[in-house]
Symmetry: C2
Subunit: 371 residues, 2 copies
């Protein structure tokens, strides 16, 4: 390092010495709704700049800090720094529940500034990790995929984000969730012929024709597929339907939008073929298609990470059902897992919060494995 | 009578002596989009004011002219004077088709200023009709039913619009179309439980549940019902469907909007009961319900009218499938038929037009019967 970074307008505490829960609160308290990550990116870059064991790089509002110790393997630890819009839930506050759990409340507490704080803390504190480490803090995860900061780094600076294992700090309640399912969206379009509904027999009703499409969805039997030791549950669902433009017209078009979530052992191409088979005879337009990521638990580095974490947390790894940015690493051929504090069911909720212990457990487990 | 009416800003030719096709063009050339009928209503009132055999009444932009000759029966001839918006199709122009048909083109030519001109002409010309006649020119037919001028007269001045037979001058290509079907709209609502589509099994998909509703619609066998000698064809159709709010959410609501067109022998109450039976087990909300009108062809006055018209036109009467304002007369217990120049399929079309001969045939047939 290090190129001269501008002094951040809002400073973070020294990440190496700060308590990781306090650091999470400080990271949350610099608002960073997608598109407005500049202040937090500046603060992260400024906080890491003093550490000579790190090379700090910047692309837009993504900050990458990495060691160059000549280790034979490299671990990438990544997390997005943006959040969904604030809803009167900043600054953060703390609450202790009836059963004694200390929680940090506020926008980003769950998704995913706890994971960001863990990475920021360890990036500064671990001056000589067991493997080289690349710490990635990126922008624009909560908006359209075209804007995704990690996707941009993969395209523009693939050498900044490659390695032998990637750990994405998305909330998993401090468990390991391996890989992720792929996702496909398609429009199944039915057509007919319009007519005045007073003389409906002159038309052909496109909405009525959708009944067969819905029947196929209702009777569809989703698979459960074991991949690298984890069982992925698939799903095929209508996520929308629309038809009809006037209350006295026979609709000449009806569109059923379906979402297929498929196991990472199935390629995007195979997923598309499957959906076309299910809706054989109908007009199918794929509008969105992203492959999943295999969990890679049979990879020695991943196995070591799993052992180290489960020794601390006691929980066995499970599959990740939702599509996450781990799939971007899969595209680079890098096995990737999700591991971070916070209940994923609370992501984006107005009452999002994170148990402080989970932040500490994640930091301890990752430190134990990397140190 | 008459009460002093303001002099109209735009005058019509003397309706008693004008050629009825020229009169149609003049009526069209005073634009009268719904809500802006004032100039035409003024012109109609002013054109009829000089005729001492008529009592001319006004309510808003509706004009009613009636004879009070002490006849034992009264015929109501009604038509709306408003049009849908002008689309570069005024002033009117004439064209002769390749097969020699002379046509009048322009907004309102079909729907329904030909019928208005026929009524206006005969109102002035027939000083001593065989029955008393009430000529009704009303506003706001092409917009929401709550604004309908005939509906307003029925509510506010029912004595202005009652009689023994009503003839509505809507376009029927100079044929008699008796009565009309009723119409019912209802929302069939399916509910479920939302979930992220990556974990669809945690939700219950409301769109999938709509499949059974669409299956019932697809297999529904509509009735054909003979009423007073005419066969009414019914229909039950989805006119709209909507469900889903996000492409990664299991929809927790789906609404199928259905439209039931029912024969005039079935009451609105019976129609509603039928629809609720068809969708038994589902949440059904009726949003719109209007009964039909029986054709009343067995009524001696109607039978006489039919004989007189068919002697001129040569065509047998048929049923009216679309709901029209004849049903407002049915509410008053007045049998009513549709009879006017113009192809109803051209109503509202940018290229709406009327064969000039049809205007003359309608005027001749009505004159022959009333004189």
């Amino acid at each position: 390092m290090s190129e001269p970074f501008p002094r951040a307008a809002v400073a973070l505490p020294d990440p190496a010495v700060a308590d990781v829960a306090d650091l999470t609160a400080a990271v949350c308290d610099i608002p960073s709704v997608s598109g407005e990550e500049g202040a937090l990116a500046d603060a992260i870059a400024a906080a890491l700049a003093p550490y000579d064991h790190l090379e700090v790089l910047r692309d837009g509002d993504a900050v990458v800090a990495r060691t160059n110790l000549g280790r034979d393997q490299r671990v990438v630890v990544a997390g997005h720094i943006d959040t969904v819009p604030v809803k009167d839930n900043l600054p953060t506050w703390r609450r202790t529940t009836a059963d004694g759990t200390e929680e940090l409340w506020g926008r980003g507490a769950t998704d995913m500034k706890g994971g960001v704080a863990v990475a920021l803390h360890l990036a500064a504190a671990l001056t000589a990790p067991r493997w080289d480490v690349t710490w990635v803090f990126y922008d624009h995860e909560e908006v359209h995929a075209d804007l995704n900061g990690l996707g941009r780094l993969v395209r523009v600076h693939p050498e900044w984000v490659t390695g032998d294992l990637a750990i994405l700090g998305e909330p998993t309640a401090a468990g390991i969730e391996g890989g992720c399912n792929g996702t496909l969206r398609a429009d199944v379009r039915l057509t007919g012929r319009t007519a005045h509904s007073a003389r409906g027999w002159r038309g052909e009703n496109a909405v009525h024709r959708a009944g067969e499409v819905l029947a196929r969805l209702s009777t569809y039997q989703p698979r459960e597929v074991e991949v690298d030791g984890l069982v992925y549950r698939e799903g095929l669902n209508a996520v929308g339907i629309r038809g009809g433009i006037a209350s006295n017209m026979i609709p000449d078009e009806c569109v059923v939008t379906v979402n297929y979530r498929f196991a990472p052992s199935r390629s995007p191409h195979e997923a598309e073929r499957h959906v076309r088979e299910v809706f054989d005879g109908y007009e199918v337009t794929v509008t969105d298609l992203a492959g999943g990521a295999r969990p890679g638990l049979d990879h020695p580095l991943v196995a070591g990470f799993v052992s180290a974490v489960t020794a601390v947390t006691g929980g066995a790894p499970g599959p990740k059902y939702g599509w996450t940015d781990v799939a971007r690493f899969a595209e680079l051929g890098v096995p990737a897992v999700n591991f971070g504090p916070g209940d994923p069911m609370l992501a984006h909720a107005d009452d999002e919060r994170v148990p402080v212990d989970q932040i500490r457990v994640c930091a301890d487990a990752l430190r134990g494995w990397l140190a």
